[in-house]
């Protein structure tokens, strides 16, 4: 022991004989678990999982896509089934986490905030792009609890492992539209740039994008044409092109970017991106508006 912290040595004898830590405090040395003890602990965990499933009023069956290029039995994509106890308010992400923590710690998916703002867990759930954390399991049935929920990685993206897809192409497209505010003459010091409430309102929805990639995955055009900027990147361009704090010259420059060969004109207004966007961004409308702006801007030079 160091200078600061002394152990209890006289009182609470009762707890000392029960807790592992207290035994050490009383002078015993910690010893590693034997392989029998490890097996017993793991068997106990499995038994507890079985009990939780058996005791549950309702359960739901997850059919989850599995793939791992490095593990022989997962090299060939397959679906695994996990039976999970259902509780009111349970999201698809909750169910996946339960399956991972109780059955198979190798079950792999991205997730972080659990509240639809980090954009990590866009998945293909029952055939539609959705955020796992924002999708209530109960909403996947007409009434009651769904029998089965099918969970796959986002289509039209390379699968890294299980439900994880490679996002590099998505990020590249996002970053190709100069996705940053560019100022012509920023005021000095504490002076702010003014923006009308109307203009802020105009860009508001476009600024809500969380880069989840659901829109890109749902888009037929993007699926067939890797060079297409895609809805999210065009929306990002919209966010700046419509912001009155950037001057006219920059707006012009931005319209040139989205008007390129693989820009806005590729969009065939199928609205699939708008349908799946978890932040309700009117992506197709934004793309259409940029088309109109581009036309107007071109006419100016005729």
């Amino acid at each position: 022991m160091s200078t600061g912290i002394t152990e209890t040595d006289d009182d609470s004898t009762e707890t000392q004989t029960q807790a592992v830590g207290a035994a050490r405090a009383a002078g015993d040395v910690y010893s590693e678990m034997t392989s029998e003890e490890i097996e017993a602990a793991n068997e106990q965990s499995r038994r507890r999982t079985r009990e939780l499933v058996e005791e549950a009023d309702h359960t739901v069956e997850l059919k989850v896509f599995r793939f791992d290029p490095e593990v022989p039995e997962k090299e060939e994509p397959r679906f695994d089934t996990f039976r999970v106890p259902f509780s009111k308010g349970m999201t698809v992400l909750d169910a996946l986490m339960w399956a991972r923590d109780q059955y198979d710690s190798s079950l792999t998916f991205r997730h972080s905030c659990r509240q639809a703002v980090c954009g990590s867990d866009a998945l293909f759930v029952n055939g539609k792009q959705r955020l796992g954390c924002k999708t209530q399991v109960a909403d996947l049935a007409d009434s009651g609890v769904p029998e089965t929920v099918r969970i796959e990685p986002l289509p039209h993206a390379e699968v890294v492992k299980d439900l994880v897809v490679d996002m590099e192409h998505f990020y590249d497209q996002m970053e190709s539209v100069e996705p940053y505010f560019q100022d012509e003459d920023t005021p000095d010091g504490l002076e702010e740039q003014y923006q009308s409430r109307e203009n802020r309102e105009k860009v508001k929805m476009s600024t809500r994008c969380i880069w989840c990639g659901a829109c890109m995955s749902s888009c037929n055009i993007a699926a067939g044409n890797n060079d297409y900027l895609g809805p999210a990147a065009i929306n990002k361009a919209y966010r700046f092109a419509m912001d009155e704090r950037e001057g006219d010259e920059l707006t012009e420059h931005r319209l040139n970017i989205i008007e390129q060969e693989h820009g806005v004109w590729r969009c065939q207004t199928q609205f699939s991106c708008t349908e799946v966007c978890p932040k309700d961004i009117p992506l197709t409308e934004h793309i259409q508006e940029l088309k109109r702006e581009a036309v107007k801007s071109n006419l100016k030079f005729w």
């Binding site: 912290i5 997962k74 710690s105 991205r110 980090c118």
Partner: protein, 611 residues
């Protein structure tokens, strides 16, 4: 091996701001982060940024409010730095295009927040953090700053010296999540930890799954003291089923709290006769739990937060995001019904001890943001003070690590700042390492190498051995250990604390630590092995939880967020001091340092804190 002047660990608000500042000093800076930057939990911050921008407001008033809110455990040089720099840093974000909410005249909007004497909380809807995070990431892209995303930093490369103040940090080791390679990063200027919160040490938290206190645990084991770890903020308005945060902005705009009997209890039961719902967060959290404990809650669990009277137009204009959160995560329409809320772990005031330049006592090691403790928040953070902390101290740490001249710090750090020992702490079990020396601790017989590169290489070898062992052996899974740890912390080191409960928690933590000696990673793959990643995180959570519980046991008074059943008053005579928990090569050492109440122009005299 990757080499840069400055390495920033973490891609949230503090990390991005630090990287931009270092870049502005012409440093070669890289961000190493376990999540892509836009996934960081800064994005979940809702309320706003406190900044004295307007006529009638003054950074001095902001400083006074912050000191009072801290219950006089903040350090004046840190608080004054925060309040003086916040206006310029906030306007900087506006200049970078952040979509703030606007007044009719086109200026950025500000609103009232708890504990503030002026409506100075600058906001962008109820999603201020999302916009701050994305705006700064945009600036990182603009500058072409290198980002190693989905690289999980597992350990710091620090030299070995008996005295932490003589140690040097030369880099870190990261696990490339996609490829499974362990990679060394060497930093000639410095490593800045900006890893955020550690709410996963509790089971009901507003924090993300990724907020596992990695930076705090690594700095602690490298020898940097953890300052005031016992001070954990429990936010009064989180949704009961998930812990999702309902912004203080709701109360700032006029939202009202009711108990199960329809009473506006903040006033009717005398918790805060002047400020009511807008009292400081710790005050409101205790009031809610008292209502529930005395049988006036709903379902013995929560109270109601009502914003219906604000009207649809105002709610949609200023709090629209709250409607979505209540609907998606609690199934409640905030325009039609009151929302159920209860306190949940939200923010760690304590953290890695730094000075106002973000520097720790280890040469070349910095920390900024929630993982750090400068300390501006003392025993309780005011709403709207976390985001300015990210940008102000992120910026300062970045500049300083890149060699910028931002002045000499006034706050002393490291064991030499010790003013008093703790000699009688009554712990039921030994805290700290199980093996001596602990193989996970860098400074313990680890890197004794002669030069920086060799230090990184040697640490890398150690990490490879650690990971290989966990991958190859048979053992138990970490998930149950993590879950038991979270339960113990929420059970006994929560809003209400008492000695026996905290001791029980320490025993439970020790039990978790011993079981952790037997963990193994079941997933055999090197590709995207989150089993391995989460297993390493759990070790960090154990260290974090233990510092919190030790500090909570030691501090025998009631100050700010720290409430003790046996000690129902703030005790300035004995406890106007910072708690420091040092790893001390595996045998934790608890001591105290002075609180600095002398500001540039005046001394902050502790007063009774009432709202």
């Amino acid at each position: 091996m990757h080499e840069h002047d400055v390495i920033v660990v973490g891609g949230g608000g503090a990390g991005l701001r630090a990287a931009i500042a270092a870049h502005e000093e012409d440093a070669d800076v890289a961000i190493v982060t376990k999540l892509h930057p836009v996934r960081s939990h800064t994005g979940a911050a809702e309320g706003g940024i406190n900044a004295a921008l307007r006529e009638g407001d003054d950074p001095k008033d902001h400083a006074y409010d912050t000191m009072k809110g801290s219950d006089y455990l903040g350090d004046a040089p840190a608080i004054e730095t925060l309040c003086e720099m916040s206006p310029e840093e906030t306007i900087q974000l506006e200049h970078w295009g952040m979509p703030f909410s606007r007044e009719d005249d086109g200026r950025v909007s500000q609103r009232p927040f708890g504990g503030l004497s002026f409506p100075r909380t600058t906001y962008a809807g109820a999603e201020t953090g999302h916009h701050l995070l994305h705006t700064m990431y945009e600036q990182v892209v603009k500058r072409g700053i290198t980002v190693y995303d989905e690289f999980y930093v597992t350990e710091l490369a620090t030299t070995d010296h008996p005295d932490p103040e003589e140690r040097e940090c030369h880099g870190c080791i990261a696990y490339d999540i996609k490829s499974g390679d362990l990679v060394g990063f060497e930093a000639s200027g410095g490593v800045i930890l900006a890893t955020g919160g550690d709410g996963q040490a509790f089971d009901h938290t507003t924090n993300a799954v990724a907020n596992t206190g990695d930076g705090l645990a690594m700095a602690y084991r490298a020898g940097v003291p953890v300052e005031d770890p016992e001070f954990v903020q429990f936010h009064p308005t989180t949704l009961p089923s998930t812990g999702v945060l309902i912004s203080e902005g709701v109360r700032g705009e006029g939202g009202i709290l009711y108990n199960g009997e329809g009473e506006r209890f903040m006033f009717e039961h005398g918790y805060a006769n002047n400020d009511g719902e807008l009292a400081s967060r710790d005050v409101v959290s205790r009031a809610e739990l008292t209502e529930v404990n005395e049988g006036r809650g709903i379902d013995d669990e929560y109270v109601y937060l009502d914003m219906r009277h604000l009207g649809e137009e105002r709610v949609v204009d200023r709090l629209e995001n709250i409607l979505h959160l209540a609907e998606d995560f609690e199934g409640v329409d905030g325009l039609e019904e009151a929302m159920p809320v209860k306190p949940g772990q939200h923010y760690h005031m304590g953290g890695i001890e730094t000075d106002e330049n973000g520097h720790t006592c280890i040469d070349g090691l910095y920390a900024a943001g929630e993982c750090a403790c400068v300390s501006v928040h003392g025993s309780n953070r005011l709403g709207g003070n976390a985001l300015p902390e990210l940008i102000v101290f992120g910026s300062r740490a970045g500049s300083h690590a890149a060699g910028g001249d931002i002045g000499k710090a006034r706050i002393p750090t490291g064991p030499s700042a010790r003013t008093e020992d703790e000699t009688g702490l009554d712990t039921p079990v030994s805290p700290g390492a199980i093996d001596q020396p602990d193989p996970d601790a860098v400074a313990d017989g680890g890197a004794v190498a002669a030069n920086p590169t060799a230090t990184v290489k040697q640490t890398l070898e150690g990490e490879r051995r650690r990971v290989d062992e966990m991958m190859e052996r048979d053992g138990i899974n970490h998930a149950e250990i993590r879950s038991d740890l979270q339960d113990a912390m929420t059970q006994s080191v929560n809003v209400f604390r008492e000695k026996e409960g905290i001791q029980d928690a320490l025993e439970a933590i020790r039990d978790c630590r011993e079981r952790y000696q037997n963990v193994a990673v079941d997933d055999p793959s090197r590709t995207f092995n989150t089993d391995l990643l989460h297993t390493i995180e759990t070790r960090n959570l154990i260290d974090v939880a233990e510092t919190i519980a030790l500090g909570a046991l030691a501090r025998e008074e009631f100050r700010g967020a720290h409430w003790r059943a046996e000690h129902q008053a703030r005790d300035d005579e004995d406890w106007l001091k910072h708690t420091m928990v040092a790893w001390n090569d595996g045998e934790p050492d608890l001591y105290y340092t002075d609180v600095l109440l002398d500001g540039e122009e005046k001394t902050y005299e502790p007063k009774i804190r009432s709202y």
